[in-house]
Structure formats: C-alpha cells, structure tokens
C-alpha cells in the first residue's frame, strides 16, 4: 500500500471520529474566538496601529488553539491502545504520522475559516482583496504548526506531564513559523498589500524540512 493511500485512510478515520463528536473543533473554535474577541476590546479598531497588532494576535490565537487541538491526537489513541493497532498494520510508520498531520491541518484550517471573518470585522481589516494570497500564507503557516505540533504531540503523549510538556516543546520550536507567518500576514493586511516572497519561501522551506525530518525519524516516535 502506498504511503498516500495509508495516510488518506487514517485521515478519513480521524475526520469521521471528529465529525461525530466535534470534541476538538468545538473547543478550539470557541477558544480562538474568545481570544480574538477579548483582545479586540483592548484596541481601537479604527486606529491603524491596532491593525498592526492584528496579524500577531491572529497567529498567537492559532498557536494556542493548535496546542489545545494537537494534544488529543495521540492521547486519544491510548484509550484502547489503538496506536498499537496502527503500528501492527502493514503500513509505513510515517503514514500514521502523515495521516495525523493532515487531519490536524484540516481541523486547524476549518477553525481558521470560522475565525478569519470574525477577525476581519473586529480588527477592521480588508481580507477579501487578498484572500487568495492570505489563504496561501495561512496554509503554509498552519502546515508548519500541524507538522511540528503533531510530532511533539506524539513525543509528549508518552510522558507523564504531557499537558505541560507539549506547550513547552511547541512554543519555542514554532517561533520561526510564528514570526514568518505574522510578517507575511502583516504584509498582506497593510494599506498597500504585498506578499513577501522572503517569508513565504521561509515558511515553505520550514515546512519541507520538518516534514522530511518527520519522514526520516517518524518511526522512532512510536517505539516503546
């Protein structure tokens, strides 16, 4: 079985399980909305300076949401040791990781689809003219978040203080993604919108490097 086929089967299972309960999505969407709404009260939305903070707040909210959402992707597998069932299956170990990364990416993107219009209204920013480019930046940034977050969720799921460990591992590792995504988003939401090629290339390179690292070392993450 090909890697893509095995990963797609796992993604389909993850989506089915989540859309049955909406456990992760409900929590995450409510959380990011609360963060964005609360911060909107501290700034005057008509002030251009406040819009300068907007992209940073948006990505901070997504980062926190990611750390909430990513944690259960492996801890849920511990209930009946279903991770062992996945590892018993005749598939490449990276397929398990890739399936989880893609599922988490889908969940985070879905949260962003709900979040972006609210963000645009509250922070008085025009996202429609740059929607295509903004979506591209969001995709690259979120892929980085999902990749690193899923890998660290796999690592921390076997630790005793996993709830504390994941943010501790995740936040420093995601700093480059956060900076690049914020800068690229800020460029798009400025008065003269511009897509920064430098930050986009940086994000794409970051995603590629971490996906390759996950592919090379993924099988060791699941070893007992």
């Amino acid at each position: 079985m090909t890697l893509a086929r095995a990963a797609s089967i796992i993604v389909a299972k993850e989506l089915r399980a989540e859309f049955r309960s909406f456990e992760l999505l409900n929590t995450t969407v409510v959380f990011v909305l609360i963060v964005v709404v609360l911060f909107s009260f501290t700034f005057d939305p008509t002030n251009p300076e406040s819009r300068r903070f907007g992209p940073g707040l948006l990505w901070i909210a997504l980062l926190f949401a990611g750390s909430l959402m990513l944690q259960p992707s492996f801890t849920r597998e511990q209930a009946n040791d279903t991770l062992a069932a996945l590892r018993l299956s005749p598939i490449e170990p990276f397929a398990i990781l890739l399936g989880k990364i893609l599922a988490n990416l889908a969940f985070l993107l879905l949260a962003e689809v709900i979040l972006l219009p609210v963000f645009a209204v509250l922070y008085n920013v025009r996202i429609l003219p740059v929607l295509g480019q903004l979506s591209f930046v969001m995709l690259l940034g979120t892929l980085g978040l999902a990749t690193i977050g899923t890998v660290f969720a796999a690592i921390s799921s076997q630790a005793r203080m996993r709830e504390l460990l994941l943010p501790l591992l995740l936040l420093p590792a995601l700093t480059p993604v956060l900076i690049a995504s914020t800068e690229a988003t800020a460029g798009l939401l400025a008065d003269s919108p511009e897509l920064s090629r430098t930050w986009v290339v940086f994000l794409a390179g970051f995603d590629l490097i971490f996906l390759t690292a996950a592919w090379l070392f993924g099988e060791y993450l699941f070893e007992e």
Partner: protein, 250 residues
C-alpha cells in the same frame, strides 16, 4: 470463521532476547523456535514477561538485545511480515468512537484487503455481533468488545496469531466460539502463540507450553506435548506469583 491467507503458518525464532525497561529486566536471554503451525501456550505469572515477548513477536517493540526472525521469510520485508500477523492484546485495539463495522472497515482498508463488505459481515457473524454492526464500540460490554477484538485480529487471515489472555471477559458462549475458532485456525496451519497465567479450556488446544518466570524460560515442553501436561503446568500458575524471584532478578 476467517481462514488464514494461505495454508502455510509463519514460524518465529527468538534468539537470546533481552528486554530492559530502565533498570528492570523484563526478558532475560529468551530463546525458542516456534515452528509454523504450532500452537504454543505461554505460561507465567503476572509480570513474568509474556506480554513483552508477544509485543516483540508482533514487532511492536524492539528487544534490547537478541534477534527475532520469521520463517519462511524470503525477503525480510517487515511490512510483508506484519500483513501475516494478527494480535489480540490486553486492550481491545478498537476505536470506541467508531461503530463495529467502521472499525473493521478501517483496519481492512489499512491491510489492503479485497472484498471488504463480505469480510466485515463474516467477521461480525462469527463474533455474533451482526445485530450490533452499526453500534458504537463504546456501547459494547466487555465480552462483546473482546469478541470484536478477536474478530479484528482475524480479519486479514493471519498466519501467525498472537493472543494475550484472549479469554478475558468472555462468557460461556464466547469461550466456546474462541475455542472453536482457534481449533479451526490451528487445523488450517496458523501458528498460534497464546499467553495465559492460569488454567483455561483454551489451553487444551495447545500442543506446546513454554513457562516464563521473571523474564526467563524455565520450562519448555517441546512440540507435541500432551494436553494434560500443559494443563498441569498451567495449574501451577494458579497460585500467587512469586515476586521475590522477580526482585532478585532486578
């Protein structure tokens, strides 16, 4: 009842296997050769290393030292070997948030099986769970979950079946089904390695018993052992475990 993929069982050889968890030595130089088609009962108290040995056989854990090999194993391809192994573990290895049919479909697709709908129906019929095919596994009783777990392990028609206390939670009807299923698989040539820490009816089907104590093999009846011999050995494990011997080993 699910047939094996082909008539040949998958043999397994453990050579000087050691497994260490931190300072604790779970397995100490375990060596044994299980021929294709054998039905081996792995006997021992709790903590004697049975589950660890089964996990190594299932390629879920690497030994700290020693080697495990499968035969016939022409290519040494791990994925090809995994396709021929079925396992019933302590946990059910099932997703509570999926239905019985969805669980089986998911694993059937991961194994790349053909004719999945009829395989699911056969597995559910064999486990006596057809009426509950669209029920979430979380609504099942312990016995139903165990039957589902066994059905999942047999779905791909394994040539090597690893069973960790498979009778746990089964009622009389479930035990009869388990015995009938294992007997059928054994006749078809499937290699079976089953752990238990006490006397059970299922043991009467075994043709060899290996006793583990504190991670070491302390007794091996060899192939073609009489069922009474195996049952007598198992009866010895009905008494409380001798933890002092394990402490010494550590």
């Amino acid at each position: 009842m699910t047939a094996t993929q082909n008539s040949a069982g998958l043999g397994i050889e453990f050579r000087d296997i050691e497994k260490r968890y931190g300072a604790m030595l779970a397995l100490r130089r375990v060596s044994m050769n299980i021929a294709a088609g054998e039905f081996v009962a792995l006997l021992g108290h709790n903590g004697s290393g049975k589950t660890t040995l089964l996990k190594i056989a299932a390629l879920l854990g690497r030994p700290t030292a020693g080697e495990v090999s499968f035969f016939p194993d022409p290519a040494g391809d791990v994925i090809a070997i995994k396709r021929r192994i079925g396992m019933v573990a302590h946990n059910t290895l099932l997703y509570d948030e999926l239905t019985a049919a969805e669980n089986l479909r998911f694993f059937a697709r991961l194994y790349g099986l053909d004719d999945i709908p009829s395989r699911i129906t056969h597995a559910l019929e064999a486990a006596g769970l057809v009426a509950r095919r669209d029920s979430l596994v979380r609504t099942f009783s312990r016995g139903m979950r165990q039957r589902m777990a066994i059905g999942r392990a047999l779905l791909a028609g394994p040539n090597l079946l690893l069973l960790d206390e498979p009778a746990a939670g089964l009622d009389r009807q479930g035990l009869d089904w388990l015995n009938e299923t294992l007997s059928h698989l054994h006749r078809e040539g499937c290699t079976i390695l089953m752990s238990t820490h006490g006397r059970s009816e299922t043991l009467a089907l075994a043709t060899r018993a290996v006793c583990l104590e504190a991670g070491s093999v302390v007794r091996d009846t060899g192939p073609a052992a009489h069922s009474n011999e195996i049952l007598d050995l198992a009866a010895g494990f009905g008494s409380p475990p001798r933890f002092e011997s394990q402490e010494r080993a550590r």
